[in-house]
Subunit: 160 residues, 2 copies
């Protein structure tokens, strides 16, 4: 997890958030984590926080890249909510992370690969489409989907 | 959050987990938090971790009592999963916490008050009933529901 460190303050114009998220995913994979990366950017495209999956390192199945990046971004801001922000992640968020993004009130969720088995945004519970969802971010899926998916496929093929 | 501190190692026989969770909820309310408390116990009824809501204290909308208690219990155990454990919480878990309990592979989720607006177990996405849910804990709802609900109603009435 990085908040206010590498990449912080960088403009999205230089490198799009999904490229930073893919770099975090690759770094996570190199550490033996499922390769998923996430970035939170503000309205000006400044990076507030980057994180890769840390489930193995922390021995914590809730340490998904999105959870870490959201928490780090809020801490960097000193605020509880991120209403002008975009969460960019290489994989469709699971229900836990999708609900967390809603609690942090992010404006937009951008993701790479779709996750028909574990996703909670465009699959499974489709949380933001639910009447019970108090804050539904805008969603853009499939951004650099090929790269994001290839990383995951290569990782799981390597485990077999 | 307490793991391996107050209450740790205590047997459920002395005080049922829901009583400990209600005490955590009351303490959270006294700190200005939404009064929700959670406890993780092992198969022998020993308390691995207790936590109250810390959303305001941490300025982190993901710092729900359940998330804190699950993480603390896994840390106390030194394991990533809690397959013999019960998560007892005063309020029906939201989708974030319900999904986290599934990722931590808890055996059972026991809760107090039902949450028709924000719950994710018996309401909203009913996550454990979904075909996409890889690990569905057993669920027991409505345990000391009256007390748990009264705490929440008193808290929100006080805010008005």
């Amino acid at each position: 997890m990085r908040g206010g460190e590498t990449g912080a303050g960088r403009r999205g114009g230089d490198e799009p958030p999904i490229a930073l998220a893919l770099a975090e995913a690759r770094a996570a994979g190199a550490r033996g984590e499922v390769p998923v990366g996430a970035v939170v950017t503000d309205a000006a495209g400044r990076v507030l926080a980057c994180a890769g999956n840390e489930v193995e390192a922390r021995r914590d199945p809730s340490a998904h890249a999105e959870m870490l990046a959201l928490r780090a971004a809020a801490a960097a801001r000193g605020d509880k909510v991120l209403p002008d922000c975009t969460l960019t992640v290489t994989l469709e968020p699971c229900p836990m992370c999708a609900q967390a993004a809603s609690f942090f009130r992010v404006r937009r969720v951008v993701f790479g690969a779709y996750d028909p088995k574990g996703g909670g945004v465009e699959h499974g519970p489709r949380l933001y489409a639910s009447a019970a969802c108090h804050h539904a971010p805008e969603v853009v899926g499939g951004v650099r989907e090929g790269e994001a998916g290839a990383l995951l496929r290569a990782f799981f093929a390597g485990l077999r």
